[in-house]
Symmetry: C2
Subunit: 201 residues, 2 copies
């Protein structure tokens, strides 16, 4: 049994990572979703253990010190992190795991697990990105301005990823990501076992 | 306009490269096919300028000396090569070009054009490969034996490719290759232009 793929969906805040991951789960029923843990307060509609594991800062820092996180970052004053145990268990069982995280987190995952597939979600334009963040209605003007500056800078990180997917249309973006996952399963580096098997005459 | 992709379909003789490329052309109508040039005698049903450009050895050697070939190799006593001019013209016009070649040729193309997408077609087993070569009925027992030994050794080269696609079923293999082509268009390394465009607020 081949190990599953760790598919990291990342990009600037407001690029549409959440919507894309939600749709991906619908069309790829076998995808396992890595649930992050955070010290951020739940937003309306977010469910404990599904959206995030919501924990307090003391508990989060314990997890860091015990090396229990695949990545962690402090963003806008809150901690976010990915529990290692659950992710690795799924991968070993041959399941593909999808991980939706910000850029700081993704770059850490890349260091800790370079075999992952790193996908940068690109907003169609910075103007559209601003509209989306404003439309969400959860952030103050000051926060929005900070995020825009941040998004502009963050586009530089796109080239540290394996793929860059433009999110001008969710269905098109999801379709591209499905293809990327399918294609990655045929990467030569992941094919040692089958080649050895074929040599048995 | 982005440059097209050069998609190199390669693998051991008898792995099913030809059948896969034929089917790929049917399902991806925009794919341009690179027509190779060879000194080999035409087989039944092969058409000049479609299957190959059939030329004599003197003319072939002139092309080598004039550096007009993207790759060339002598296989089983015959020269095979890929004319550069036509391929590069198509790529610059934004067309994807598919190139079906043996392993020696593919490795040369990789040196000359590393941006290509290199796909190794894997037969389901060496036994099945033997059946296919025998079934073609074009080769003597001695040639078949040489090809089998060669195929065994050639599996080593799979890891010099980007992708390894198992050809246990043509439709499945073609579907995988379509996904690979789609996925490759979203590679971060090919996305500089669009990221710069998005930064224009």
């Amino acid at each position: 049994m081949d190990n599953g793929l760790l598919v990291v969906i990342s990009g600037p805040s407001g690029a549409g990572k959440g919507t894309i991951c939600k749709r991906l789960k619908e069309v790829m029923k076998d995808l396992k979703v890595s649930v992050s843990t955070t010290t951020r307060k739940p937003r309306n509609g977010e469910v404990e253990g599904e959206s995030y594991f919501f924990i307090n800062e003391d508990d989060f820092i314990k997890k860091i010190n015990n090396n229990e996180l695949l990545e962690h970052a402090k963003v806008y004053g809150n901690y976010y992190g990915t529990p290692k145990e659950e992710v690795f268990k799924q991968l070993e069982e041959g399941n593909d795991v999808i991980l939706e995280i910000d850029i700081q987190g993704a770059l850490q995952v890349k260091k800790n697990y370079p075999r992952g597939v790193f996908i940068f979600i690109l907003p169609p334009s910075l103007k559209e990105l601003k509209n989306r963040i404003e439309g969400r209605g959860t952030d103050s003007k000051e926060v929005i301005l900070r995020r825009m500056k941040c998004a502009y800078d963050e586009l530089n990180y796109a080239f540290e990823y394996d793929y860059v997917v433009l999110n001008d249309d969710v269905e098109t973006a999801v379709d591209k990501i499905q293809c990327i996952i399918k294609a990655e399963k045929n990467r030569a580096v992941r094919k040692k076992a089958i080649i050895n098997k074929i040599r048995e005459v």
